[in-house]
Subunit: 334 residues, 2 copies
């Protein structure tokens, strides 16, 4: 049950060269996005600094800021920078909420393979869910490698969690995140349970990076169907984050950890997601541990594709799925 999938002693199937069509079962908007990226190529160079990664993930910061400002106005949100537990965060509040401390707060950990999404480059998911779900949202600008490898990201998540949960009560805080963000959440909750501390009211892990080693069926089945790649991309980022630690260490790859005591968990993936196995292997562990888990697999979607943008219907559906899950599990009964 260990080792890279290619380590199986049996010969696999031969897949002939072919064209994989854009799915007709997603919205026209998403079809157009998938069509655009079908022939996309990725930068081959591997940055060795945070600034270098920023240039890959956020090549035009001014344009990104303009887009965010418009999104805040269009969706009636206020956003301010905030230090929470010593960690740089953004607090995003739907204007109609008034004093959000009376409600619940959901906390987002952005994706980006542990190296991308610093600062304003990592706000998409938080903004989308705050816009659609109308919940007070904190976006955590956690530290990242190369300059801050493991355990900086989870330490930052921990510090934010401790501050917010003591202010609001753990059951009124929810955590959500996609890809590396989902992995951070799984690691944080395992850490809290190991310390015998209270867990969040609910968590949402979107296509979580639960196994940093290239293990799991969908790493291979969807190798050419997804637009993210392990070889030369995710694999490089995993090594920068791990800082010499074994990629199967449960502190890096939470699928190998313990899931007893987990709060209600929503897991998201897609039919062409490189991380489908990362997602369903966690769901199995949660089920076997007696936790309340729920899985949604989005039709026609690759890794994190539901974060395409608020002009794409599938983004609104996913944001609503997340917000509904939080409303069901963490809103105070009053």
């Amino acid at each position: 049950m260990t080792g890279r999938d290619a380590a199986s002693p049996h010969s696999g199937q031969i897949v002939p060269a072919h064209e994989l069509p854009v799915p007709s079962t997603v919205s026209a908007e998403l079809q157009a996005r998938i069509g655009l990226t079908a022939t996309m190529s990725f930068p081959a160079d591997v940055p060795t600094t945070n600034d270098g990664w920023d240039r890959q993930y956020n090549p035009d910061p001014a344009a990104n800021r303009t887009r965010i400002d418009a999104l805040l106005v269009d969706n009636n949100l206020v956003m301010e920078k905030k230090d929470i537990g010593g960690v740089h965060c953004y607090h995003i509040i739907p204007r109609e909420l008034g004093d959000p401390e009376n409600g619940c707060t959901i906390v987002n950990f952005h994706g980006g393979g542990y190296v991308g999404g610093r600062g304003e480059a990592g706000l998409n998911e938080a903004l989308f869910v705050a816009s659609v779900g109308r919940l007070a949202t904190v976006a955590v600008d956690y530290r990242m490698p190369p300059e801050h490898p493991f355990p900086a990201a989870v330490d930052d998540a921990d510090a934010v969690w401790l501050t917010l949960s003591s202010q609001l009560g753990p059951a009124r805080v929810g955590l959500f995140g996609t890809s590396a963000g989902g992995g951070i959440i799984l690691c944080l909750v395992q850490r809290l349970i190991a310390r015998r501390e209270a867990v969040p009211g609910a968590i949402v892990c979107g296509t979580p990076w639960s196994d940093l080693s290239e293990t799991g069926d969908s790493y291979f089945v969807n190798r050419y169907a997804d637009i993210v790649r392990y070889e030369g991309s995710l694999g490089v980022k995993a090594l920068q984050y791990a800082g010499g630690r074994d990629l199967k260490d449960p502190l890096l790859s939470p699928v190998y950890g313990d899931f007893h005591g987990f709060p209600p968990t929503l897991l998201l993936s897609g039919t062409r997601d490189l991380f489908l196995s990362n997602t369903v292997r966690v769901e199995r562990k949660l089920r076997d541990a007696g936790a309340s888990s729920h899985l949604i697999v989005y039709e026609g979607q690759s890794h994190g594709r539901y974060l395409s943008g608020l002009d794409v219907p599938e983004t609104r559906v996913a944001a609503q799925d997340m917000a509904s899950f939080f409303r069901q599990h963490i809103l105070p009964k009053s």
Copy 2:
């Protein structure tokens, strides 16, 4: 949102020729099974009679009977043929149950693309779940094309349902089935709701054939990862079943039908399942209709792979997942 996936106006991705490894994240027993079928080829001829299909699906009936007899003894089951509502069925009862009429009954509709699995060739799933789950089980030997096309299969399901639900009460009957069997269940429940009649206590649809047209992302993403094929195989069977009806007619392809009023539904699929989209598109419809739905996607599994055999751990896991779902939803509270 309609039309074959290849009908999207956008160009798709080019997938180069490659070998898809056997997943290392499934049991050694299942790895061996997957390895065996990796190079399997399918019969090219298309039978035009039920006997012809039987020869493909059940080439050695005597060996199959010997296997079933051993399975009944090993698992302490009694099986007898029974006419239920005019339909040929098998009643499988765990010996320790005593009078099973006091409990609940689960009713299985076998898979086989609407053409395979007649008689004793269609008993696997019912026997596996009865063995592991220790529930009284009815296996329905519904009529099939070429001799009995649509709507014979659903008419037979309907007749069995009406008899059992009036004997036991609808809430104490559960329905389960894989592939075509899952499709029959979805069609039957839509028919019951259209007639404003009571629905089963719970249903389990394993990788259901919800769309008989080749529509849905996984028909393409998993085209070479799964061992079942649409072209020349499923497509031929769909046409024999449809008897001239449009393959997107909701009476054939229930994903296009209405899901309001559905009972608690468990859906099963796998990470390399050709029917992953058939499964998750139904889950989305159930969710949107406010039904209680639950999705499990098994790691490393192609279409119906969890029916490999009781010597494969994954078969026992799936049978236990199904039985647990029924125990949770339909066992009488006494």
